[in-house]
Amino acid sequence: MAELPGQIRRMGGGISQLLEQIYGFSRRCLFRVISMGPTPCHIAFIMDGNRRYAKKRGLEDGSGHKAGFSALMSMLQYCYELGIKYVTIYAFSIDNFRRKPEEVESVMDLMLEKIKSLLEKESIVHQYGIRVYFIGNLALLNDQVRAAAEKVMKATAKNSRVVLLICIAYNSTDEIVQAVKKSCINKSDNIEASGNYKHEDRGSDIEGTDMENQEKKIQLVDIEENMQMSVAPNPDILIRSSGETRLSNFLLWQTGNTQLCSPAALWPEIGLRHLLWAILNFQRNHSYLEKRKKQL
């Protein structure tokens, strides 16, 4: 008689495992159907709404971000199962440093914990062979987080199946300014190296052949290759949770022709159906956008 509760518990556990397997199987079938149409190559997420979620549920302040992290893990799993190669997430903006110091510190602690957990054997990184990049002004982070991030980047450098770009201490305007600075420095280095001192020619265009002119003037490719996000193609879809429709200084350069989606769900509430809806919308507009990209 005393074994009965134990048996029921085991049965309950077995049933939930079975249900999970059925759910996973039907999900993979659904993904097979979706991939009959064009699938995006790169999806970007703005993970907005963690604090509102915690308030809604009456939880303490930090737990919204924790719930957000588990939502992130499931979204990553869906994306990689669907065959999307690049996923970018907006983890922490340079503007967010202006929040209350306790909140910034708790978010940093959470991030340190989660970054370290990426290196563990059971983590999603090893499951899917993810290469991780940390994009942003890493000098603004504290030493521990920066060291952990660099360690993860180094450890996953050999993976090539799928890529995860985590934007931390990132602002798109900051990224563009850094790229502009680098282009200026590179160009002036090139000019000095080729021995052409034309600094005295103020106001007039640089004399010389057309080829020389082209090399000395900054081109679009110079800025693009100096952008930190140049390791990935432009995003096809950008999903911002919690219903706000703004970019908040995220991937401004790269999202010129990106499909923008704003489901009203808060980030910890985001689910498979939001992702599927975004992809269906993307498929609807795909042929038109492909034509546009060819024109560019």
């Binding site: 903006s93 929040r99 305007t173 703004r246 970019l247 908040s248 999202t255």
Partner: protein
């Protein structure tokens, strides 16, 4: 049992399926508010002019309420002219003509409500790929409306700035643009920015080139290049408020299509499904109401 089943089935057939179909066509999620809105729109189509004016009379109250949170800079992507013309069986040029007429009316309303700067995405760098007669028609439209609206611009003291790459524009249009800019350059308080042959990336690139030239000439150091320096070099420097607070793209497409990239870092993006020639005062008020309900945090806690 059978009667219950038949009731449920009738309900489904009469309401749910057409509802799903209509919401799919209009790109609007199926919900009670949207159903009510749809019914209201259909009903208002049968209003005559008097009733419509009565309904719009409430604008006065909204104006007073919202004066404090009006956007200083509104940017608009004028999308949907060709689709509007197709729906009515007209040619593309009629669609653009209707769009241009709508443009001036909306600009007048906008300035009347206290906006300082309005930016319009009239012609993008990618639009050169369109058929030649369409491009010619668009250039002719720009010339026509710039010329005919000069007296109004002077009387209302609106400063016009045309931003974009001017190298490919026809001579006559260039001459007219310079004339209009010269005539209105001293006005303050109302700015109309028209983006012709503009692309967000081109804007950032030309700012970068100008900064690089300054570094080369020794006017500034590389370390001085920061966000403020970039803002001063971008083409939107002609306005006091270079960054739009609200960006409206009509016709339901949800992308920025290489319009203001740098400048729309914190812009609220609004995507109504109405096509541009149908975007009038009522739709603009809806956009403003939506904007006033936004909680803008700029990354901080409110």
């Amino acid at each position: 049992m059978l009667s219950l089943f038949s009731v449920v089935f009738t309900f489904l057939a009469l309401f749910l399926i057409p509802g799903l179909f209509i919401s799919r066509r209009l790109n609007v999620p199926l919900s009670l508010t949207n159903i009510l809105r749809f019914i209201k729109i259909i009903a208002s189509k049968y209003d005559d002019a008097e009733e419509r004016n009565e309904k719009r009379g409430t604008m006065g109250e909204k104006q007073k309420r919202g004066r404090n949170i009006m956007p200083k800079h509104v940017a608009v992507i004028l999308d949907g002219n060709r689709r509007w013309a197709e729906k009515r069986g007209l040619g593309t040029s009629e669609g653009h003509e209707a769009g241009a007429r709508r443009l001036m009316e909306n600009a007048k309303d906008c300035f009347a409500m206290g906006t300082n700067t309005i930016s319009l995405f009239a012609f993008s760098t990618e639009n050169w790929e369109r058929p030649e007669d369409e491009v010619k028609c668009l250039m002719a439209l720009f010339e026509k409306y710039l010329a005919s609206d000069m007296p109004y611009l002077r009387s209302d003291k609106i400063k016009i700035s045309v931003i974009g790459n001017r190298t490919k524009l026809p001579e006559s249009l260039l001459g007219l643009i310079e004339e209009v800019e010269e005539a209105t350059k001293s006005y303050e308080g109302k700015n109309l920015i028209i983006a012709i042959d503009y692309s967000g990336r081109y804007d950032i690139l030309q700012a970068c080139k100008s900064l690089a030239n300054k570094v080369k000439d020794g006017l500034i150091q590389v370390e001085d290049i920061n966000e403020k320096a970039m803002e001063k070099e971008l083409l939107t420097k002609c306005s006091e408020f270079p960054n739009p607070d609200l960006l409206i793209r009509t016709s339901g497409e949800q992308r920025i299509s290489n319009f203001f990239l740098w400048q729309s870092a914190y812009t609220e993006l609004y995507f109504p499904t109405v096509l541009w020639p149908d975007f009038g005062e009522a739709e603009y008020l809806e956009a403003l109401t939506w904007y006033q309900q936004r909680q803008r945090r700029f990354g901080r806690r409110v």
